[in-house]
């Protein structure tokens, strides 16, 4: 543990400089993007207009625009069939895009030599069962052009890093799924990469292992590498990712830091100790009487203010209105919710409530979780139901 993975990084490797795919050369679909080439220094991955139409007219990716900063942990979210794996496979030259512009580590997407600087762990990977864990790490590093001496030196270190030191000489065929994942992560780091692309790295790993993997990711990030993470486990992404993108039906629904994405939905919840004889109307009157807010005439049935829009959360009957400063406000039983991130904006409300002799029991700043954001992204706002899995066939897409 605590090994310096960067220290032994051979930045110059002997690799081929041939295009990844026959029919579509990098020059055709990746070398372009001169409009944002000047920014590639900042970005590990900078994608524009990535399209993939499979045979059978399934439009898996539709104009993906995504940027991953160097040195950050970036999470790619999305329901099954959203196109996450397709996007990752395009980056790794496993799939040829129908169209793609942009760069990875400063080189056009699909530039084979760049892959020597990228570590990759695919989902549902299958390592040759006749190899030992150590041989797996060495084999894939050798395929990337890492010389023998470096492989021999680094392999035990990587196996120790992923907690597989004692199993390194055992055949992969006898490994549990979690052990295979660990070895998979070790092989992804075998090339000492600048960018690590991990597709469901915690799949099949026990909670202890997951925690270790999270710590590992943090360490990798601290060493200056970029991590591109594809996972279903939202809580884990929330813990390790600096930025996320949510992919739905082949399109990026939203992307940014978790802070950026959640702050817009932050609400302050002010809970009073007890309602008076007038009940909720008394609270409304207190707010309106001090001109802290202007409430709507009637009650509305809606999901609580601040919850993800359109998500199938039990709706409540509340009274909605607007603060004098413009923020949305909702009175629901003994709770007043104000949609704002600015604590100053709730002070007039607090004053109005205290002025009406209400006892403030608690004031909480609530932000939606990543799961809330995810659910919002994958929910059809019209029907309130989750969007179907998979990309729609061309012509059937909205």
């Amino acid at each position: 543990m605590g090994m310096g993975l960067v220290a032994a990084a051979p930045k110059e490797r002997q690799v081929e400089s041939a295009p990844a795919f026959g029919p579509v050369t990098p020059g055709e679909w990746g070398a372009g993007a001169p409009s944002h080439r000047s920014e590639t220094g900042e970005w590990a991955i900078d994608l524009r207009n990535v399209d993939k139409m499979y045979r059978g007219k399934v439009h898996a990716l539709r104009g993906i625009e995504m940027r991953v900063k160097k040195g950050e942990v970036f999470g790619l979210l999305g329901p099954n069939g959203a196109g996450k794996s397709t996007l990752v496979k395009i980056l790794m030259t496993v799939i040829a895009p129908t169209r793609a512009e942009g760069t990875m580590l400063g080189q056009p997407v699909g530039h084979k030599p760049t892959l020597a600087r990228v570590g990759y762990l695919p989902e549902h990977h299958k390592f040759p069962e006749y190899l030992t864990g150590a041989q797996v790490v060495e084999f894939y590093a050798a395929l990337a052009g890492v010389d023998r001496a470096t492989r021999k030196k680094r392999t035990p270190e990587l196996l120790e890093l992923v907690g597989m030191k004692d199993w390194g000489n055992k055949k992969v065929g006898g490994y549990s799924k979690g052990m295979r994942q660990r070895v998979g992560i070790a092989q992804a780091l075998g090339t000492n990469p600048d960018l690590v692309v991990l597709d469901e790295p915690t799949d099949g790993v026990d909670p202890v292992g997951r925690r270790e993997i999270r710590e590992m990711l943090t360490r990798i990030k601290e060493e200056g590498r970029t991590v591109f993470l594809n996972s279903h486990l939202l809580s884990e992404l929330e813990m390790v990712c600096d930025r996320v993108a949510i992919l739905v039906q082949g399109k990026v629904k939203s992307q940014g830091t978790i802070e950026e994405l959640t702050v817009k939905r932050q609400v302050y919840e002010i809970e009073v100790a007890a309602l008076g004889a007038d009940g909720v109307e008394g609270l409304v009157a207190a707010l309106e009487g001090k001109q802290a807010a202007r409430m709507l005439a009637g009650r509305v049935e809606a999901a609580p203010l601040g919850s993800a829009a359109g998500v199938n959360i039990a709706k409540r009957v509340g009274i909605r209105g607007q603060l004098a400063s413009g923020e949305e406000v909702e009175v629901d039983h003994g709770t007043v919710r104000i949609a704002t991130v600015d604590a100053e904006r709730i002070q007039p409300t607090l004053d109005a409530l205290r002025g009406a002799a209400y006892v403030i029991k608690s004031v909480k700043a609530n932000r939606p979780s990543l799961e809330d954001l995810f659910m919002e992204a994958v929910t059809d706002p019209e029907t309130g139901k989750a969007l179907g899995p998979g990309a729609k066939k061309e012509g059937g897409a909205k």
Binding site: M92, V94, H124, H125, K126, Q135, L143, A144
Partner: protein, 403 residues
Amino acid sequence: MTSTWALVLDAYRDLNSKKLFWITLVISGLIVLAFAAIGVNEQGVTLLHWQISDFGGTVTSDTIPPAMLYKSIFSNFGIAFWLAWGASILALISTAGLIPSFVQGGAVELVLSKPITRVRLFLTKFACGLLFTTLQVAVFTFACFLVIGLRGKSWEPSVFLAIPLVVIFFSYLYSICALIGLVTRSTIAALLLTLLAWFGLFLVNFGDAAMIGMREAAKTNVENLEKSVARHERFATRQWEQLWLTRNTKDLPDGAPKPTPPKPPVAELDEAVPTLRDERRKLAEQQQMAQRMELFATAAVGLKTVLPKTGETIDLLSRTLRDRMNLPGDDSDTETSNESQPPDQARTVNFWNQRDPEESRKLQQRIDGEFKKRSVWWVLGTSLLFEAVILAIACIVFVRRDF
């Protein structure tokens, strides 16, 4: 080179993990042991220290020296049966899964994500598949080399020609197997369809040999019938001339010069010797047959030109070894003719029903002669061209496919 060596090492480990690799090697070892156990002395053939038989006095150290015996067994059995059939089928079974397992989901992504072009990846993997046969043939050939040297007291480095030629032979089939394995991703499909293709090539090869055999049989018959017709004509002419002279000289005074008989009319010759007409009819039929067979044989050669010549590659090896190791060939004597033969009807040869051993041997010589006329470059060059086309198609499929 690091990545290429990694793939080669991986293929070796893969083969090493397969029991069939070792089973085939053990069978090869047993065959070599059996080979070494056979001997020949003045009394006949021996197996270890047991005397088996002298096969009616035809097989003794006087008739077949030990060196000749071992070389013959290696050429006629070791190559023609074991390496060309037994070991190749086992090699196909062992290696048929290499490409399908290489392109299966979960495995191929990792390899494709490395900085190696797909064409190089595929061709390296294909070459690794040939490693199996190369190792097997090399071990078997080296063991046979030792047996021929130690037991036959004749060191024959030319036996090592078996290594490249058997590997080339196997590579024709393995290219088909690799393409099918890539397209179907199924080991069973790759194996069965390759065996089917091999059977198809066998049929084409057999068809080619049959067409050539029928053509040569027809040509032999034409030649025999032409000679027979000539004999019959001579005989009939003599008969007619004698008759003519009898008729035209009976009134001549003694001592008068005999007139020269004119050229006899064909119809009268036919009347004089009734079988002449039959022979002429048969000759015309066989000439037609020879022309027809020439067309079929040309078509068969044309078809074969674009296909891999599995059988002929092995025959080429056997023939080359026979020449280099001074083994007796099949073309030992020359055709004989018998002008004084009475005008019996000519014997015709049927390729499918050869009853006369002498005629059968001659026909086989003619067929062998036709095959020998085919150049090494035609046999190997066009076969390798076929292989190159199959591999090019496979590369295109591999490069264009989304995994």
